[in-house]
Amino acid sequence: MSDDRLFLSTDKPPAEPASLVDDFTPGLITQANHHLCPGCGEPIAIRAAMEAAEELALAERTVAVFGIGCYTAFAHNLDVEVVQALHGRAPSVATGIKRMLPEGFVVTFQGDGDMVNEGLQEVLHAAARGENITCLLLNNGVFGETGGQMTTTTTLGQRTKTSIEGRNPHQHGHPILLSDLTATMDGAAYVARCAVNNAGNVARTKRYITRAYESQMAGAGFSLVEILTMCPTGWFVDTLEGPEYLQNTLAPVHNIGELKTP
């Protein structure tokens, strides 16, 4: 794995000796050699989620439930207990776990295709039930793993493999703003949306995830953190253009900020 920015940022030889990727790997991620694309936002989001768990000392009570998407690769890369669920079905699996382990900490990792397309009813029902779990939505506005097709969160005008001329409301309908929808539900305690396209947003992401975890540990009810992530591959843009594309395409529609706090 290489980070292009390291090479672009300087033309001088490095001032310090090289350090291994492992040095930067948070404690609860077992190895850094994931198979996700360079410039992908999902590892950043997962890293924030694992750092937050570590800082709140949740490691020894966590069960993470994974949906199906590119992030699924991390199911085998974490040093917390993991249940691999089906595409869209993580919230009900998480429900079964949490009901049997009320003292446990249960978090789902799902993409927009997983949570907002295939499994929309699952997340809404879990929210309505006030299920005391945390769902993390890694929203890149496309089905990344299957090659960049339109999802329900794809924004108007956004070009994907199945909306080649851009998403057109007459033909493709309108995007679902999941966090806004969930925030209207009584069972939802904490709902926030953030992004990982710059350092400030990454810090904010970790802050929001931490608040969601705290709300679960306080027994407040359902929590959702939607994290806008880059998918340069599925967006068909250069790796380095991902953050800006996110800012211009997803962020104006899926607005960043806390939508509901306990």
């Binding site: 609860l28 994931h34 069960v63 974490l78 207990e81 079964g96 382990l101 699952e122």
Partner: protein
């Protein structure tokens, strides 16, 4: 064992499930499964268990999946359409090697193939137990939980409207409220941070990119496990009067009880007819069926469908006796699987017409 009580099939199965250690149930109402769900909702809180009235069958099976990962005995169930919805999960739960009991309260017998062929995607099978009446349902419910735990696999109990709504005198086992033993593969979060946190996945275990993570090897192990069940699960069958029978009739479940009764009456009237009633539908008791039918001139299969188990009987007998299908679909106005043709005189007549 507690005292004998008059109890409806649904309640008897619910009580047997809780007595067998079931501590989690999730379901979505559908006749004739609904009463089982209602009884579980009433009973599970007595033992600090959880019953979820799930928002759909998709979610019911998902919840049961999650509960099963914690090592507590979990169950779900439904009827035809609901089972169809659950198949994707049932297939993957099998590959995740999780114990689960599935109560399939079917409408009629049209779902034999769905129940015995895996039902969902992938190359797998479930153990399927088909009780003929309430006392047997109590026994097989206990067995289902035992087998699910022993083999770490979903086990299906296949019932129907008749079973759900018949009252019979049975001894219902009492509840054991002692905290159940949690198996070592179960999750409770505690191995996090150890460097070797557990994972429960239909894709197998191991750390990606390292030795031990190999989807091909996992699927091979799953296939080997199905094979081990196929040969290791003891096939159960009930058979009678086959030694000197001219005709042997096969049937399963509640309908099997009608057929069995018809055969008993025909025997009383001097007809040389025998019956075979497979109790494990998978693994199918092929050897026993073969043996029971081999002495007779002919075999017949009665099912409340277009002919599904008849294929298994033909495979079991391998052409050694002619096998005739004498059943057929039969529905009353309710659509719940009550068959106007499912009565002893009509069944007896078909049997007599088939006698060699």
């Amino acid at each position: 064992m507690s005292e004998r009580v008059l109890i409806e099939g649904s309640e008897a199965m619910a009580r047997a499930a809780v007595a067998a250690g079931c501590r989690f149930f999730a379901g979505y109402p559908m006749t004739p499964f609904t009463e089982l769900l209602e009884h579980m909702a009433g009973l599970l809180p007595e033992v600090d268990g959880v019953c979820m009235n799930a928002e759909s069958e998709l979610e019911a099976v998902g919840m049961a999946w999650g509960a099963a990962t914690t090592g507590h005995l979990a169950a779900t169930g439904s009827t035809g359409q609901g089972l169809s919805l659950m198949q994707e999960s049932l297939s993957e739960i099998t590959n995740a090697r999780l114990p689960l009991v599935v109560f399939n309260m079917a409408r009629g017998q049209g779902d034999y193939f769905q129940a015995t062929r895996g039902g969902g995607h992938g190359d797998y099978r479930h153990i399927v137990l088909a009780p003929m009446d309430v006392p047997e349902a109590v026994e097989l419910t206990q067995l289902a939980f035992d087998m699910a735990g022993q083999w770490r696999t979903p086990v299906m109990v296949l019932g129907d409207y008749y079973l759900a709504h018949t009252y019979q005198a049975v001894s219902v086992p009492s509840f054991d409220t002692a905290a159940p033993e949690v198996p070592n593969w179960a999750l409770d979060g505690s191995t996090g941070g150890s460097g070797a946190a557990k994972i429960v996945s239909p894709l197998g275990g191991g750390v990606e990119g390292e030795e031990g993570f190999d989807l091909g090897a996992h699927y091979a192990a799953c296939a080997a496990h199905i094979q081990a069940m196929a040969t290791g699960v003891e096939p159960l069958i009930d058979a009678g009067f086959c030694e000197d029978a001219e005709l042997v009739v096969a049937a399963y479940g509640s309908v099997g009880k009608f057929v069995r009764y018809a055969c008993l009456r025909l025997r009383d009237a001097g007809h040389r007819v025998g019956y075979i009633r497979p109790i494990t539908l998978w693994p199918f008791p092929s050897e026993a069926v073969h043996k029971a039918a081999s002495g007779s001139a002919k075999a017949a299969v009665y099912e409340q469908n277009m002919g599904q188990m008849v294929d298994d009987v033909r495979l079991a007998t391998m052409g050694t006796v002619p096998v005739e299908f004498i059943g057929g679909p039969s529905w009353d106005h309710s659509g719940f699987g009550i068959g106007p043709d499912i009565n002893v005189p009509d069944i007896s007549e078909r049997i007599l017409e088939t006698m060699p």
